[in-house]
């Protein structure tokens, strides 16, 4: 840690981790809903829908906290200056947490906007917007006052502004369901395949540059090409969500062609990670941070790239749309691209904030491998369930519940893998909160 104000990042990370744990616990409850018969009396009070709103909103909340913490850690080192105002950073952390917790409690009492992933009621949306403006102001002022422009800062700030702007499209009530979904995807798709990718790419480039010691010139060159490809494929690639919503037929072409190219930037990311690792100028101090970086690139490619590619072609998507195939892709992609990216940032920054040069990573390794294997298994079992569903329900035309009957076993296996995942996550969280210096190598 080179600047005092970077310490604020620690509290963002510390707030994010328990929320991640709660997200996974909710996930297990959702899997239990698929596997067992939940009695009517419980379903009446705590339906699947509420638990799902918890699961997805917690995901967004903890990941945004992670991104914001990451930003507050990176910006001082990149601009070579302290953060404009740590007071604002504190205010914004507390505002976001209070809003998030209020929203979750509200869900329990049916206070919801009732749109998947965007359940937060409109009143709270405005608090979120204010928080986002404070955040952007704080980061923007830091960059503006320091005048040490770099591509990493630019990408990060650009991604964050884009992220905040897109959120606005999710706030209004749309009379027409088709238009509603059209702009719903401006939030969801353009977040995860646009704005979030920009944030991720810049954080990733920063950490990679720091741990490998490769020159900024090289890292930023790759960064430009990657984000260029991300946006080239990702913007028009939104079309793969417009096949069956009542939008014009040409979306099958736009969506199909641009989405087919979507794995390219991620592949490039893997290649340049491998390249930087090979050409590294620095000694490996913390092997686990490296493992996370490479794991993130590889799982990003599998989950978002390969799994996404598998069902974005209209001919395939016609049968897999809205099935557990989507769930399989969603889990692998979010975990690979964003959960691992955040955890990599935590493992990079938290020891530095605590003043530990080389940390003991025995526990952390167990956590990493448990989570990755468990998530890979979940990706596969969700996938099997999804293929069964697509075939039985959509191809054979048998009833929804007939298909669900055959899928039940696989949802049970998913739940078992989920228990392992939770174990891996708890290990990781405990490890991150109790980081100790590594014993000197004998």
């Amino acid at each position: 840690m080179e600047y005092r104000s970077q310490k604020i990042a620690y509290w963002y990370f510390a707030a994010a981790l328990p929320l991640f744990v709660l997200q996974v616990v909710m996930g297990l409850w959702l899997a239990a809903n698929y596997t067992f018969t939940i009695p009517q009396s419980i379903v009446n009070v705590f339906p699947f829908a509420t638990a799902r709103a918890f699961h997805t909103n917690l995901l967004v909340l903890w990941m945004l906290l992670g991104f914001m913490g990451g930003t507050y850690y990176i910006i001082p080192e990149e601009t070579k200056s302290e953060i404009y105002s740590t007071g604002l950073a504190w205010f914004q952390l507390i505002a976001l947490l209070v809003t998030g917790v209020t929203a979750l409690v509200g869900f329990l009492f049916g206070w919801t906007q009732g749109r998947p992933l965007l359940e937060i009621p409109m009143a709270l949306d405005f608090v979120v917007v204010i928080g986002a403006l404070v955040f952007l102001f704080n980061v923007g002022m830091t960059i503006f006052k320091a005048r040490n422009w770099t591509a990493i800062q630019g990408t990060l700030l650009g991604g964050l502004v884009f992220l905040a702007l897109l959120y606005l499209f999710g706030i209004p009530f749309y009379r027409n369901l088709v238009i509603d979904w059209y702009y719903w995807w401006w939030v969801i798709h353009l977040w995860v395949e646009g704005a979030w990718e920009l944030v991720t790419a810049s954080i990733f480039a920063f950490v990679l540059m720091k741990i490998t010691g490769v020159e900024r010139e090289v890292v930023e060159k790759w960064l430009y090409v990657e984000i260029g490809l991300f946006l080239f494929t990702g913007l028009a690639g939104t079309g793969h969500h417009y096949y069956w919503i009542g939008a014009p037929r040409y979306w099958l072409w736009i969506g199909g062609v641009f989405s087919a190219l979507e794995p390219l930037p991620i592949l490039l990311m893997v290649i340049d990670t491998m390249h930087h690792v090979k050409e590294r100028k620095a000694k490996i101090v913390n092997p686990l941070t490296w493992t996370y970086a490479i794991g993130c690139a590889v799982m990003h490619l599998i989950g978002a790239g390969v799994w996404g590619f598998l069902h974005t072609l209209p001919q395939i998507n016609y049968y897999t749309h809205g099935s557990q195939v989507t769930v399989s892709h969603g889990h692998l992609a979010f975990f690979g691209a964003y959960a691992l990216l955040n955890l990599m940032t935590f493992y990079y920054a938290m020891p530095k904030i605590k003043g530990i040069a080389a940390y003991d990573d025995r526990l952390g390794k167990i956590g990493f491998w448990t989570m990755c294997s468990a998530m890979m298994i979940m990706g596969l079992t969700f996938g099997v369930a999804g293929v069964l569903q697509s075939y039985i329900e959509r191809v054979l035309g048998m009833g929804y519940m007939v298909a669900q009957g055959y899928m039940r076993l696989w949802m049970g296996v998913t739940m078992a893998a989920g228990v392992f995942f939770l174990g891996g996550l708890l290990t990781t969280v405990v490890d991150l909160f109790t980081l100790r210096p590594a014993k000197a190598q004998a």
């Binding site: 799902r52 913007l235 929804y400």
Partner: protein, 234 residues
């Protein structure tokens, strides 16, 4: 490659894709009016959409394929289970899903809201959305059914029964839905003519019937074939 070239790749890539996307957005806004029959988007349909959001239906059910995957897609729900079917499930889910291994919460939806929801679902069901979902497609499934008849050697009626949604509610040999009765021995009590009459207008035979008329769902030929097939089950 220099950093400058890399920057231009970024700029051109982003702008060209954004141009395609924004043009298509403009054109989509224009065309959706026709594709979604926006002229039929009445206040009651909008009230139904509000009710749909109020009860967070969309976090268990998908609609147009988006939402929770815990319960059936609602795009064609009116065509599938009829207005009475929707009313029954919303009013008394504990009875409707008594035999199901998955339950639906009783959210005490008011009668007015149910009427609004039905208007909303009826409107959604007519959206021209490239013939999705496949199992409700009029074109595709009949091709699929023809294929089954040709390759597996099942009777045309059996193919209709399997592919036209009958099994959403009825079961054969333990496979299928639990809403309606199992039909394993239906031929022992009803003839093909009686079944044909019943599926065309269930209420004319039994005023309390929950089954929706299949006249809009199936063609005359399909109705005859499925009745003939069911009559053979003894």
């Amino acid at each position: 490659m220099t950093k400058k070239i890399a920057f231009w790749i970024f700029l051109i890539g982003t702008l060209s894709s954004a141009a395609v996307f924004l043009w298509a957005t403009y054109d989509t806004q224009r065309q959706v009016v026709t594709l979604s029959h926006a002229d039929k988007l009445s206040d009651q349909v909008v009230a139904g959409k509000r009710a749909f959001e109020k009860y967070n239906c969309n976090d268990c059910h998908t609609i147009l394929g988006f939402g929770g995957y815990y319960a059936p897609d609602l795009t064609k729900v009116v065509q599938r289970v009829g207005e009475d079917g929707i009313r029954y499930r919303l009013k008394s889910p504990e009875l409707a899903f008594a035999n199901s291994f998955r339950k639906m919460p009783n959210q005490h939806v008011t009668d007015q809201e149910i009427t609004d929801l039905i208007a909303f679902f009826s409107w959604v069901g007519e959206i021209n959305n490239n013939d999705w979902p496949p199992q409700d497609s009029k074109k595709r499934m009949s091709r699929g059914a023809q294929l089954m008849v040709a390759t597996v050697g099942v009777s045309p009626g059996a193919a209709v029964f399997q592919t036209k949604g009958c099994m959403n509610c009825h079961s054969l040999r333990g496979t299928g839905g639990t809403f309606g009765p199992a039909l394993d021995k239906i031929g022992a009590t009803l003839s093909a003519e009686e079944i044909g009459k019943y599926v065309r207008n269930p209420k004319s035979v039994n005023p309390d019937a929950k089954m929706p008329s299949q006249k809009d769902n199936l063609s005359e030929r399909e109705l005859d074939e499925v009745a003939r097939f069911l009559a053979t089950l003894k």
